[in-house]
């Protein structure tokens, strides 16, 4: 599948042409991206990658044409709402369509009605999927209308507040006694209104100051931040205000949170464990997962971790194209990242041995194959110039270990009594030096006590240095 092309550069024009075609194709493809659809208020299809925080295009409520949204004060919004938060998560509370004129302020503040006067089902509801909107018949007592038979609703005889158009946006008597459809999708959530009510948790504690508003919209739905004002208890704590995600979020048959809905995809907000899954999430997830992997396990299975950390197919999010050529420099620059997925002496070494770039293995004869590192005079011989291997080893020993086995190092660094060229070897060029770091002597006794094997690779049991450590 691969072939070195000595005159590869001469083929440049062909590949330049190919590149141009490809770029043009991609540009054309991008340009026909359905922006209009993205901005439409229709819900995203299942699996569409819309994060909970990225739904501004969808948050524009479909409000009645003649209804002006009253100025909304931040203090009237639900607890946990913050300016510019685009409303609650679309994945949890899908878009609504409420083609009604309704004035909560008038009903609650001026007429003195309690919330449950209209939303009476909230007293007994145990599921978030219950519809708590009052039926039209609930309005009849005051408005003089007759909603008992929805196929034949009768307005009041003359009172203006009893006419259909008083409440129903866009109603026209010429249109066959029809009103616009109200769309109120079920929230993707667990919630027990009755239980919360029984604990004397008032409506405003979750929905904000609805009594100051006219039409209450989706924006009055609770925010997770608000829920967590109370839900701060460990699993075995008395009471049920547990902070476990599954207390409120729906779970799938595997027990993990359901994250994909027709209205969007659930993703943690940045403020929760600093776990926002932004474009740099791959780079920074380590600290979050290391601190609380049980939090991750709410949505992720072991497979999700293993696909990258113990995977066998190169993940593009981590390793870009032409990684085979790029990785030597990356491994020397960025040692922190390699070992989180790769083990040098099994994953790296065997491949390097097969490719013939190691000091040991089937292609170890550097006289035949050529030298991988800089010339011996610079790389291994003294004096130790800036291009000496010792500096590279100090800077990033992991890169050394991905090609070299301990035998390669012991050749020079082991003492003469152990067969190396270190202490006891005749002085001069070719004699290995002590590779231990400063302060090593203060730690060697503990190391020797716990595992003498690495010491004995280079030092004979009767080596005075070893005896000192004992």
């Amino acid at each position: 599948m691969s072939g070195r092309v000595p005159g590869g550069a001469s083929d440049g024009s062909f590949w330049l042409l190919a590149l141009s075609c490809l770029l043009a194709f991609c540009a054309a493809w991008c340009s026909r991206s359905p922006v209009a659809r993205a901005d439409a208020a229709s819900p995203a299809p299942s699996g569409a990658p819309i994060s909970s925080a990225s739904g501004a295009a969808f948050t524009a409520e479909v409000l009645p044409a003649r209804l002006e949204r009253p100025p909304l004060r931040e203090s009237d919004r639900p607890p946990g709402a913050v300016p510019d938060d685009h409303g609650p998560s679309l994945a949890i509370f899908p878009n609504q369509r409420i083609p009604l004129f309704f004035n909560h302020r008038r009903h609650v503040k001026e007429l003195g009605l309690a919330c449950t006067a209209c939303h009476e089902k909230a007293r007994t509801s145990h599921a978030a999927s219950d519809s708590l909107l009052p039926s039209g018949a609930r309005c009849d007592g005051c408005h003089g209308t007759d909603h008992r038979d929805l196929r034949e609703v009768r307005p009041a005889a003359s009172a203006p507040q009893g006419q259909c158009a008083f409440c129903h946006v866009g109603y026209s008597s010429a249109a066959g006694n029809r009103v616009a459809t109200l769309l109120l999708p079920k929230p993707n959530l667990r919630f027990d209104h009755a239980l919360h009510g029984a604990r004397h948790i008032g409506c405003a504690q979750c929905h904000g100051a609805v009594e100051n508003l006219e039409l209450a919209t989706r924006d009055q739905m609770p925010r997770m931040r608000g829920c967590l004002n109370c839900h701060q208890a460990p699993s075995p704590a008395a009471g049920r205000a547990r902070s476990e995600c599954r207390t409120c979020h729906l779970t799938d048959p595997t027990g993990r949170l359901q994250t994909t809905f027709s209205s969007g995809t659930l993703s943690p907000p940045r403020w929760l464990h600093d776990a926002g899954h932004g474009p740099d999430w791959t780079l920074r997830h380590q600290l979050v997962a290391g601190n609380d992997s049980r939090f991750c396990a709410n949505c992720h299975s072991p497979k999700d971790c293993a696909d990258c950390h113990d995977g066998r197919v190169r993940p593009r999010r981590v390793h870009p194209n032409d990684w085979l050529n790029l990785h030597p420099i990356a491994s020397r620059q960025n040692q922190q990242n390699c070992t989180s997925c790769h083990r040098e002496q099994s994953f790296c070494l065997s491949c390097h041995q097969r490719a013939g770039i190691t000091l040991s293995g089937p292609f170890a004869d550097s006289a035949q194959r050529g030298r991988f590192h800089p010339p011996k005079a610079e790389w291994t011989d003294g004096p130790r110039t800036p291009r000496h291997h010792a500096w590279e080893a100090e800077r990033n020993i992991s890169a050394c270990v991905s090609c070299h086995v301990e035998h390669d190092c012991a050749i020079c660094h082991a003492t003469a009594a152990r067969g190396g060229r270190g202490a006891g070897f005749p002085a001069g060029v070719g004699r290995g030096t002590d590779p231990h770091p400063l302060g090593f002597r203060s730690r060697c006794a503990s190391a020797l006590r716990q595992n003498a094997r690495p010491c004995l690779v280079c030092h004979a049991p009767d080596d005075p240095n070893l005896l000192d450590c004992r």
Partner: protein
Amino acid sequence: MADKLTRTLLTGLWLAGALCVAVDARAYQSEIDATFDAQFYSLQSPYGSPLVQRRRYTQTLALNLYGLDSERKPLGPSLSFKSRLRLDTDFGQRPEERNPDSASYVPGLAEAPLDVMYAYLDGQRYLNGALSFRLGRQYVVDTLGFWSFDGVEVLLDTPAYFAVEVLLGFEQRGGLPMLSSSRFEAGGVSRGDRSGLTVGQSPSYLQESRLAPAYGFALESSGVSFLHSRLSYRKVINRDAVLVSPFLDSSGGLAYARGDRTSSERLGYSLGVNKAELGAALGSLVYDLYNRRVSQYDLVLDWYATGRAVVGAQVGYFLPTFDGDSIFNWFLHRGTTSATLHADLSLLSRVELAASGGVRIFATEGDPTTYARSFTAPDLTQSGRSYDALATLGGRYRFWDGSVALNTLAESGSAGHRYGGDLSLHKQFDGGYYDSLAVLSLYDWEDSLRADRRATSFSYVLGAGVAPSFLTFSRGRLGVEWEHTMNHLVGQRFRMLATLAFSVLR
């Protein structure tokens, strides 16, 4: 031959068992999830030969059972079984590479290793949420890293906002007849099954035949969303008799190290604090008790500047540590420190940007620029430092049936430089029934140690997939990718990837 037969038999049994369970609907939920990946590409030695052919076929097969004990309630106890088996073959290997009598022998190479990635019984929220456990081969993810062991982990959650976790078992290691991988061993030593090797053959390839006991504990906070901390301790013990020196000793023999020895012993602590309107602070520290050195620390401070912007700073330190049997622990000098600033920005509703920039600091004992002048008595306390500048810029635009992503990086320093980026386009068609992928990449790099290896590389990837809801599969996707890379070092290189993934949940 017998080995292959065993593998085939095991795979067959696993598959048969999985299918039986899936077909027979019970009160519990069963899930089969399988992936098949075939990759074809080549690795070219920097010297032109050898050319390593990679003809890889990897298959994983998962069998999961949920709700084994009772009717599931969201906050009630649950018992499940989760497992995944993997066959990882490379038909590009030459037989002589696995023959100890051949000059081409590569220790530890296997053509078709079969391993159990994980297989454990998972009990959650027993005793009113206080007791959870896992029994079997399982992953552990914490400050001490991504790790796997065979054994039991018990978690006791208390009403007092903390939990205690205890684990006991054996580290997952390669080389043992336990369908395991070497991925989770501490590094620095090459281990495996030495049967078939003579005593002096590949002396650095150490014998692995005995289980490596592992134990540990963790204390962590529980129940609050704005704070989480975890203290972890873990110790692993080596028990095999292994060659001590790769050279003959004075008596002409080879010495062995025997008995129980520390493989690794580490203590880690992490803390995360969040305040929704303000920001977050995350920190972690790992202390290697065997090396008696701090091997890693990280500190991240994030400020939620607005609802759409986060800016922050990170400082990290890393000192690689190795298995207790490895000599490389004693070559460790100074760690690597990195300091970066980063920013995340949400523009409009569907555009996200992330950028970071900073410096990585390598330190040495002695200054490389002056060391040679005082060869006889160098001043090792004079620290030498070298710096890499690094930056990343990433962006993502999501439209309703796809996304465009840009990931770029720039790193430059004493080791060389890497500049470049990937531009990726994913798009679905027909409501997700079909999907497509295009990636364009341009990178320029230079290796300061080998100036002749400087190159500019261009790559592109074209891919397509289909996700039909056929048969009884809950989810499935069949895809292919074609990757073409070109640079003046290797000319043209191609890679083909074919994937099939499906799952059945019933």
